[in-house]
């Protein structure tokens, strides 16, 4: 089966083409094309996973381009890492395709939505399976494009269009680094294939500084795509897109592509300790900063967006401290429960038509199924056993604990506390307590089965995937969790999670402490978090600086460079104008000039002839 794995990304591609070309005639039935394609792809992906688990693997490549002696090959490879990620991506995407059928019902651009969603999945699956940097980069950019298109799906609101623009531009900044990194590696090794490059790196054929530079450049791409500080500013704004898009692209899959990139080129990072340390620190800072900002968000989707950012930071942190398998384990587990949380949030928004949590409350009554599934996701994210998040976060914490970075372990632990806090806060504000607005709750009704069924399906991996942890980590080829050290870390992790839940429940459940009093007491911190650590201002300042620079360059170009060219032209024009007076059109005047020329010529000939 793995030899035919190329069919997996081909299915959504076919769905994309079909939706584009015949979708209009089918109306909303076009959704079935995508759902069927993804269903088949999911089956194939799990079949592949089983085959790979049985020891099979596959690689295939064809010549793509020949430049002199340099042949570029395009192809795919399916090993353990790829098979595991493929299965996760197809399953989550399939659920989101089904959910969208209900969520996007009646949308003016329903078919376009499904077309873009299909194209996006094609990009993600291609990226996972690519065996060379070129195809990887192409898939990477396809996802960037689809992200842009889907964030701006409701482009009638200028804010949404701006958010799409922001996401595109900010991630582009990281992509420049990725491209330079690819170029550096290709120039140094003469190949674009992962296998060739990593082989040379592991054999120590490349100089240490070159490896470090290349790794940092690649990581720059990952920072942009995976919303790490300081290129994270696009992710919260990306919530302007429809909620299924947030679930698929900005929570479960695309943002994980950066982490996947680090995982894919991991030997490169291992060969560059400085780059690995950078990954760890950036990850830790992102995890903490995002969690702090999440504590003061009032928009349910933004809370989830910042929690995504925070969890991506965890994954990077795990990668950075050498916990390759732990990072990937958290990636997969997070994809399941974050997709679940976003879809549940989508179901809530579908029911109450607002995203402001302060206007909700008591929704567990009318939205029982949605509420319960959301709670499962929230518990998983908070890290409560036996949900998946507990095991995966625990694996990350163990990996950090086993590393020499003591401080980062406490940062990660504090972040775990904050995670539990803000998820409890979100759940309490949304589903519990007295309804704050009658109007909101009176019109709330449970979503149709087409939306709740995917939630129920996603609850299964959310609840059970964690138990596969040791097996999974061994499967993707990393080291298993360190059993001896794990117990105290687990205790600390559970303690932090429970403490977070209790503090949040004290404020938002029991109202032991009025939240307004708390805000007043912590005013400077509140403002800092509310303003998102002023990263948007920082981004704007950088953008302004860039604009000033480009204005200066533009002025130089216009005045000096163009001035030179235009000046020459003007000079010629002026001379021409002067010369035009000479050609008055009178043949006699011409003859006179000719005569003068002959006379002068003869005169010169005579004089020079004498001298010579």
């Amino acid at each position: 089966m793995p030899q035919h794995a190329w069919i997996i990304p081909a299915l959504p591609l076919a769905s994309y083409a079909l939706t584009v070309f015949v979708g209009r005639r089918l109306g909303e039935r076009a959704a079935y094309i995508g759902i069927a394609a993804l269903g088949l792809a999911t089956v194939l992906a799990f079949w592949t996973l089983a085959a790979v688990g049985g020891g099979a693997s596959a690689a295939m490549s064809v010549p793509w381009l020949r430049l002199g002696d340099w042949e570029i090959r395009m192809g795919f490879q399916v090993g353990r890492l790829e098979a595991a990620v493929l299965a996760m991506v197809t399953l989550v995407s399939w659920m989101i395709f089904i959910f969208s059928k209900g969520y996007m019902h009646g949308d003016a651009r329903f078919n376009r939505f499904y077309a873009h969603l299909s194209l996006f999945v094609t990009g993600m699956l291609t990226l996972v399976m690519a065996d060379n940097f070129l195809l990887f980069f192409v898939a990477w950019e396809i996802m960037g494009l689809c992200s842009y298109l889907l964030i701006g799906h409701w482009f009638e609101e200028v804010e949404n269009a701006r958010a799409a623009f922001k996401a595109f531009l900010v991630t582009r900044l990281g992509d420049v680094g990725l491209l330079l990194g690819i170029w550096t590696l290709a120039a140094a090794t003469g190949s674009l294939r992962f296998a060739d490059i990593l082989e040379k790196v592991e054999a120590g054929e490349l100089s240490g500084s070159l490896v470090t530079v290349a790794a940092l450049l690649l990581f720059m791409g990952a920072v942009g795509k995976s919303a790490q500080v300081p290129l994270h500013i696009w992710l919260p704004d990306a919530m302007a897109g429809p909620t299924p898009v947030s679930a698929l692209i900005h929570a479960a899959t695309m943002v994980a592509a950066g982490v996947f990139l680090v995982g894919r080129t991991y030997p490169l990072f291992e060969a560059a300790p400085a780059a690995l340390a950078t990954v760890a620190y950036i990850g830790a800072v992102t995890a903490l900063v995002a969690a702090l900002i999440a504590t003061v968000q009032t928009d349910i989707k933004k809370t989830l967006a910042y929690s995504t950012m925070s969890q991506l930071g965890y994954m990077m942190l795990a990668m950075g401290v050498g916990g390759f398998a732990a990072g990937l384990f958290h990636l997969e587990a997070h994809a399941f429960f974050k997709a679940l949380l976003f879809l549940a949030a989508g179901s809530v928004i579908h029911a109450v038509h607002t995203q402001d949590m302060h206007r909700m409350g008591g929704l567990i009554g009318p939205l029982r199924l949605t509420g319960l599934t959301f709670l499962a996701g929230a518990l998983a994210l908070a890290g409560i056993p036996p949900f998946a998040g507990f095991f995966s976060k625990d694996a990350v914490l163990v990996a950090v604990h086993a590393s020499p970075y003591r401080a980062l372990f406490w940062v990660a632990l504090f972040t775990a506390f904050l995670t539990a806090y803000y998820m409890t806060r979100a759940a309490a504000l949304t589903f519990f307590g007295r309804p704050r607005e009658r109007e909101v709750i009176e019109h709330a009704h449970e979503s149709p089965p087409v939306m709740t069924a995917p939630l129920l399906v996603l609850v299964v991996p959310t609840a059970l995937f964690g138990f596969l942890g040791p097996w999974f980590q061994a499967f993707v080829g990393g080291h298993e969790a360190h059993g001896a050290e794990a117990a105290p870390v687990q205790a600390l992790a559970i303690g932090a999670a429970v403490a977070g839940i209790l503090v949040a429940w004290a404020i938002y459940g029991f109202r032991a402490l009025d939240r307004r009093t708390a805000i007043r007491l912590l005013k400077p911190l509140y403002v800092l978090f509310k303003e998102k650590f002023f990263f948007d201002h920082l981004g704007l300042a950088v953008a302004r600086l860039g604009m000033l620079l480009s204005l200066a360059v533009g002025a130089f170009d216009r005045l000096v460079v163009d001035g030179l060219v235009n000046g020459v032209a003007w000079l010629v024009l002026l001379i021409g104008r002067g010369a035009r007076a000479l050609t008055a059109g009178s043949a006699q005047a011409y003859a006179l000039v000719m005569l003068a020329g002959v006379v002068i010529g003869l005169f010169i000939y005579q004089v020079l002839g004498r001298v010579g």
């Binding site: 050609t583 008055a584 059109g585 009178s586 043949a587 006699q588 005569l595």
Partner: protein, 107 residues
């Protein structure tokens, strides 16, 4: 070999005078027929030089210089007939024979 008759310098004086008159007329006159006549003057100055030099230098073939002159006269006749034809055509078309009015070459 000492020369009999008129010294060669006299011929040059006459031909220079004729050529200068021709140049002046060709550049100054506005009547195309007068210009053609001036050109004829210049050509004849050249012819005088051909004949004078032929005799002065005592060429081995005494016909060569006058031969050139005869050719020039023939070609000049053809040229003048063409020139007069152009003048006639201009008169018909533009109702004028003043060269100052013909400035289609203006840049």
């Amino acid at each position: 070999m000492p020369e009999a008759g008129v010294p060669v310098g006299y011929f040059f004086a006459v031909s220079t005078l004729l050529f200068s008159l021709g140049v002046f007329g060709a550049l100054r006159r506005t009547n195309p027929v007068a210009i053609l006549m001036s050109i004829e003057l210049m050509l004849n100055a050249v012819n005088i030089n051909f004949v004078a030099f032929s005799r002065h230098l005592g060429a081995a073939d005494p016909v060569r210089g006058p031969m050139f002159a005869i050719f020039v006269i023939t070609v000049a006749a053809a040229e003048v007939s063409l020139g007069l034809a152009i003048v006639l055509a201009l008169l018909r078309r533009r109702r004028s024979a003043d060269v100052n009015e013909f400035d289609a070459l203006k840049g």
